[in-house]
């Protein structure tokens, strides 16, 4: 009987794993993505129900599910779309700490059951591999705790509860290395003396500090990298927990998430032309004797009024809108969408050019514009828009800076040299909507603003675009 229920359980776990894979596969196209997400959720529900059947402490379990579920529902529906990066960061952290808690609880459970026998002997007698269990427990504790504290700090930075400036204090690097050594070192001690369960929680504490040291140096525009990396960690922590309790569905689901996070991390690093180590330690490339902002801008920046910009659209056939984090900060996605609708109604061909690292997480701009009812087929990737950018009559840059800075292409001594950008400077005219000439995250002046074909439209994104819409309507 026992064997039978185990087999049924394992087959259903296998089914859940298949549902997770099909679910992520569904996310490869916007048409199938909703169904993909539902398949993933179905797999999760199946796995939970299978595990709950015949469990003790049902009261505690249901209480935990209800409390966690209600908090999850409230958070998911309360959040503004602009706040999505911080919410994802926070959820991520909760997954990480859950894995660390499970591994710790299992360790205590095994120690209770082992009693005076000693953990290693008891595990061996139970037919388990002590090496596997202990190493996986330590890995789960370290990675889970790093994920938690790192994610919470990332949340605080994105929510602007703490400064999101890049912090390059060398002490942080020392702390980082020190915590890593201590956490791994204590892990080795615990591995040698697995009966010292208290040590596990010391490792968790040190790892919590490590997570903070990991995220502290990272500045605003580098956030996409750290969020994707933490996303990967939460998956790896879950997979490690799978090795602790010998459960394949945890291993499969955890490794899928781990792979997903790693791929996204890589895409983000490539899109910034920086190595992962540089991002993690907040290192920008050595700044050569670059031109000062006075040299770049003096007497060359042309400021325009919304009325003047409105006239540009007369006779324009192709318009490219290039949004950046500034659009999210100004909550300007709805007016931008209205402007695009107005231009399209006049027969103008409007597209959006999305830089891979625009915003604070991968795909951030796409979600904001989707919220503003912009059809996803109008959102084009950087490489696609760059091939035809010479035919664009007006490129409208909204709250983007470093991702459209031609220095990346033209100035080999620039800190962003070699970073792929959207080549808006090659369009016939460029309109930059921006509060001021202040530099972007890279801290360098942007020659685009001083180009002959560039007009600056200074002001708050939402307000200025609103005025632009009014001016276009007035002109008829």
């Amino acid at each position: 009987m026992n064997v039978d229920t185990d087999s049924v359980k394992n087959i259903l776990y296998l089914l859940a794993s298949v549902l997770f894979i099909l679910g992520i596969k569904g996310l490869t196209h916007p048409r199938t993505a909703v169904r993909g997400n539902l398949l993933g959720a179905a797999g999760m529900l199946l796995a939970i129900v299978v595990t709950m059947v015949g469990s003790d402490h049902l009261g505690w379990l249901i209480a935990g599910l209800v409390v966690g579920g209600l908090c999850g529902i409230v958070a998911a529906y309360k959040i503004e779309m602009t706040g999505m990066p911080q919410l994802v960061a926070l959820f991520n952290g909760f997954g990480g700490i859950a894995s660390a808690l499970v591994a710790g609880a299992v360790l205590h459970d095994y120690l209770d059951k082992a009693g005076d026998t000693g953990l290693v002997q008891w595990l061996t007698a139970e037919g388990q591999d002590p090496t596997q269990v202990i190493i996986a427990t330590i890995a789960s504790g370290i990675i889970g705790a790093v994920t938690f504290s790192g994610s919470v700090l990332a949340f605080a930075k994105l929510q602007q509860l703490v400064s999101s400036a890049s912090n390059t204090n060398p002490l942080l690097k020392v702390g980082n290395v020190l915590c890593t050594i201590v956490a791994v070192g204590l892990g080795v001690v615990l591995f040698m003396n697995p009966d010292m369960a208290g040590l596990y929680w010391v490792i968790v504490l040190v790892s919590l500090a490590l997570g903070l040291f990991l995220v502290l140096p990272i500045g605003g525009a580098d956030m996409p990298v750290v969020i994707t990396l933490l996303n990967s960690y939460s998956g790896i922590a879950a997979a490690a927990t799978g090795f602790v309790i010998n459960n394949t569905v945890l291993i499969v689901a955890g490794s899928l998430v781990g792979a997903s996070g790693l791929i996204l991390t890589r895409i983000m690093c490539v899109a910034m032309n920086r190595s992962l180590t540089n991002v993690l330690f907040g290192v920008m490339a050595e700044v050569g004797e670059g031109p000062s902002s006075d040299e770049v801008y003096a007497g060359k920046v042309k400021s325009a009024s919304p009325d003047e910009v409105a006239m540009l659209f007369d006779g324009a056939r192709r318009v490219l809108i290039v949004p950046g984090y500034g659009m999210a900060a100004a909550q300007a996605q709805h007016v931008v969408s209205d402007l695009a609708d107005l231009l399209m109604a006049k027969g103008i061909d409007v597209e959006y050019g999305i830089h891979p690292v625009a915003g604070r997480m991968p795909g951030h701009m796409n979600v904001l514009l989707a919220e503003a009812d912009v059809p996803y087929d109008l959102l084009k990737e950087m490489d696609d828009v760059n091939t035809t950018i010479e035919q664009v009559d007006v490129a409208l840059v909204i709250g983007a800076n470093d991702t459209v800075n031609p220095s990346a292409r033209t100035d080999p001594s620039s800190p962003i040299a070699g970073m792929p950008i959207i080549d808006v400077d090659k369009a016939r005219t460029v309109v930059v909507v921006k509060r001021s000439l202040s530099p972007g995250f890279a801290g360098i002046p942007n020659p685009l603003f001083a180009c002959d074909n560039t007009l600056m439209l200074f002001g708050d994104g939402k307000k200025v675009i609103g005025e632009l819409i009014a001016a276009i309507k007035e002109a008829g």
Binding site: L87, L101, S234, V244, L264, P362
Partner: protein, 92 residues
């Protein structure tokens, strides 16, 4: 279960993940993150198992906390992904 069997599953799942996820278009990267994030809530299975086998109060509490965090992660993750995805529309 045999460690090498588990490691095999681990490696194969990573490869499957790489193969599928490289095909996800950039426009869906945020939903991919929040959706995969929800899937990492799978650790709830571990949380349920430990909570139900615990004998001491302290360990039951640890399990209970893990259940709360993991549920928050997965319920919130799937819901917010659904909310985002239902906003993605085609032209016309």
């Amino acid at each position: 279960m045999d460690l090498f069997l588990l490691l095999t599953i681990f490696m194969l799942a990573i490869f499957v993940g790489f193969e599928i996820i490289t095909k996800v278009p950039p426009t869906l990267h945020t939903p991919l993150m929040s959706g995969s994030n929800a899937i990492s809530g799978i650790t709830i299975i571990g949380a349920i198992i430990v909570t139900s086998t615990q004998q001491t109060w302290w360990s039951t509490m640890l399990g209970f906390l893990a259940v709360v965090f993991a549920t928050l992660n997965l319920v919130g993750g799937f819901l917010v992904t659904h909310r985002m995805l239902s906003m993605f529309k085609r032209k016309g």
